[in-house]
Structure formats: structure tokens, C-alpha cells
Symmetry: C2
Subunit: 215 residues, 2 copies
DNA sequence: CAGCATATGTCATTCGATGACACTTTGCAA
DNA sequence: TTGCAAAGTGTCATCGAATGACATATGCTG
């Protein structure tokens, strides 16, 4: 008959090897860099065949992007539960804050650096991963757009505003990440502060001429 | 002694093979898609070795990105010569208009579809190229930031506004391109109109709640 | 246990990319 | 003109990512 929620050993083992692959990969990536880590090395560390790796992940890149997916999903979820009174950009800001905290807290052994921050730094330091990340954002802003449009009761197909808000917000996060990477100690709070700083100046950056002044 | 600007045959031949590679590649890309075109096929069409290809271009991707580089450079140039009275975003908009027109007019035989538009469509339709394109924008916004900051006389290191303006503008171009690709006939004028439409709504998208209304 | 579905392993192959080395062409100078 | 040095190119070998075909092993269900 049908597989019918075939639980137990099989499913557990799958999750087990998957986790082992991710874990081993991350360890190697952080030790010798993404580019200089062969898939072979990852699979050797877990003792599975190379072919198996590509049954779990579409590509080496895909493995690294799994964290991005998680974070993106978390953002969407948090945005969906923000109170409707909050204006779009404030809701995005708060949702980002909540999701980043949640993702950083999850899957990180206390006392150690949050895994998610390691991944962010890895992505930012690896050209091909950065490209993949940007494309992910570009490809998945539709979900964000949907939620934003629903919150405000507008039609996402006819109204450009939700899409624009999502794109601008994404751009600010990307910009803030760039700043965050090059200065400071790389904590979650600093990241949030950087995003806030960017968002706080969007209005000023787009309106009229800029008056010379210290920031 | 030193090479000392050794011009003539050598340089001409180099440009010749380079152009031949680009031309052959573009033809093949548009015929069977970027992914399904092997470097081998390109070099066979030009009758050079595969190794030579990689002496001209760092990668297959790099060849496709050469057009993006040209367009980006054109935008920077146009922005630099915009009258200082124009506000930053208006200057960007006008510079984009001018550069797009220039790039589309260049290297396109009259009567045919501008080469540049073909490339834009190719990039947009090819995931890996889209990723590369986004990364290019992300990596090269510093140049745009410098010019913007210089125009307005602010310090790009201390002031986030030029960077934010550049990122937002880039986001709008990307968004407009997405729209442009999915609806309409894909002309230069439609592209410009799409960018204008996006830019015209940035203010409304970022401020307060959205009132439901037809766009 | 039998029989099935699924997960995994093995093998072969394609394609992008890079290093090492030899050969040819071009430019320059004695 | 001749001869040398440098730049350009070709050939060969190799690596890594990714995919298809096919066999094998493992867990699931009756």
C-alpha cells in the first residue's frame, strides 16, 4: 500500500545522515573554506558515498543555502504574526529582529558562536555563495510580497508597493551585512543595530539633496 | 626592453579572437541556452583551443558578464556627467536612461534586436547568470557610491545615504527587469517605463500604511 | 519469512577550470 | 636581415562538481 507516514528508523536515519553531512560540511568549510572543501571530503567524514551527498543536496551550494532557507522561512513566519497596526517597514524590521534572534538561538550550543552567524560570514566571504544568496533573495521575495500585501489588504499583482518594500528591505539587510562584516565584532546585536541604522536613513537617502552633516 | 605599448597586429588579433568568441558564444547561448552550450562548442566555432578561451575569460560566466560590465561602466560615466542640480535619485534615473539607450544602440546592427537586450533576457532566464549579475551589482556598488557621494559632497565612508540610494536604485532596476521580462514586448522603452514606475512608487511604498487603491 | 519500496553504493561520463610544458608568431634590436 | 625575447596558443594531464544507469542493501508491511 501507500508509504503512509512511514516513520521510524528510516526517517530517523535519513535525518541523521543529513545532519551529519551538514555538520561535517560546516566544520570543513570553516576550517579550510568553502571552495577548498571537496564534496569527497565531506562524504568521507560521514562515511557515505559521494552520490549520496547529491541525493540529499542538489549541489554543494545547496547545502550551504539550507541555512538561508531556514532564516528566510523564519522571517516570513515572524512577519505573518506581527500585529496589523505596525506599518510595513516596521513590521519587517521587527520580524527580522525576532527571526534573527530565533535562528541564532536555535542550533547553537550555549557558549559557542551561533552557527547561523558563522554561516553568514562564510557566505559573505565566499563569492559563489554570496551570489547564490542574492539570487535566493531575488527568487523568494514573492513570499514576502504576498505576506506584506495580505497584511495591508492590497493586490500584490497590481500594486508595486509591497514588492518595492520587500526589495528595499532586502537591500538594506544586504548593505547592513556588508557593514557588519567589515567593522565590529560580529555579534547578533551589532547586526540588528546595523540593519536599524540603514533603515533609519532610507528616507533621508531618497529625499532631495543631501545636506552635508555627520551621521 | 620594456614592451612599451606594443601596438599593431598582436593587439588587433587579440581583439579579433575575443570578439569572435563573444559573438559565437552569444549566438549559441541564444540558440540553445547558456547551460546547454559547452565551452568546447564555442571554441570550435572560432577554431581555437579550449585553453585559449580561458585565457580570454576567467570563466564561461565571465564572458556573459562582460556585457554587464559595459553597461555598468556606462551608467557610472553617465552619472558622472549629470548636472549637479539634479537630486541623487533623479540623476540616477536620467543616467540609467542615457546609459541604457547608449548601450542598446551600440553593438547592434540596425533593424535587429539590440544585443544588450538579448543579453538581459538571457541573464534573467538563466539562474546562474542571474546570480552572477546580482553579485556583480553587489560587488560594484562602491563605484556608484563614490560618484554619488562626490556629487553631493558627502563622505561615503561616514554617510550611509549614498550607499542606500545606490542599493535602492539597484533594487528597483532589478524589480523593474523582472516585471519587464514577464509582460510586454521587451523593448528599451518599456524597460525605461518599468524602472520609472518602480522609482515613482518608492516613496509611497516606504511611508506609513498603504491605502488600498488602484495603481 | 516474503516481497516491496526506498536508500545507498558503484561505475562511467560530461563539463568547467587550471597547471605544466612545448611550439609558434610577433615585435624589436643589433 | 638575422636572432633573441616575449606574448599567444596548443596539447596533455588532472581535479572537482554533477548526473545517469544499474546493482545492492536496508527497513517496512503483510
Amino acid at each position: 500500500m501507500r508509504p503512509m507516514a512511514e516513520p521510524r528508523r528510516r526517517e530517523r536515519k535519513k535525518r541523521q545522515t543529513r545532519d551529519a553531512l551538514v555538520h561535517a560540511a560546516l566544520k570543513l568549510f570553516n576550517a579550510k573554506g568553502y571552495e577548498h572543501t571537496a564534496v569527497r571530503e565531506i562524504t568521507d567524514a560521514v562515511d557515505v558515498s559521494e552520490r549520496t551527498f547529491f541525493r540529499y543536496f542538489a549541489s554543494k551550494e545547496d547545502l550551504a543555502m539550507s541555512f538561508v532557507r531556514d532564516a528566510s522561512d523564519a522571517l516570513i513566519r515572524e512577519l505573518a504574526v506581527r500585529p496589523p497596526e505596525e506599518e510595513p517597514l516596521l513590521a519587517l524590521r521587527n520580524a527580522f529582529r525576532a527571526s534573527l534572534r530565533a535562528v541564532a538561538a536555535a542550533e547553537s550550543h550555549p557558549g559557542e558562536e551561533p552557527v547561523y552567524l558563522l554561516v553568514v560570514k562564510l557566505i559573505d566571504a565566499t563569492p559563489s555563495l554570496l551570489a547564490a544568496h542574492l539570487r535566493y533573495l531575488h527568487d523568494h521575495d514573492d513570499e514576502l510580497v504576498r505576506v506584506l500585501a495580505a497584511r495591508e489588504g492590497v493586490d500584490p499583482a497590481a500594486d508595486l508597493r509591497p514588492r518595492i518594500a520587500a526589495v528595499v528591505f532586502g537591500g538594506m539587510v544586504a548593505t547592513a551585512t556588508k557593514q557588519w562584516r567589515t567593522e565590529g565584532s560580529g555579534t547578533v546585536d551589532e547586526m540588528l543595530a546595523a540593519v536599524d541604522a540603514c533603515l533609519d536613513q532610507v528616507g533621508a537617502a531618497l529625499a532631495g539633496h543631501w545636506t552635508a552633516r555627520a551621521t
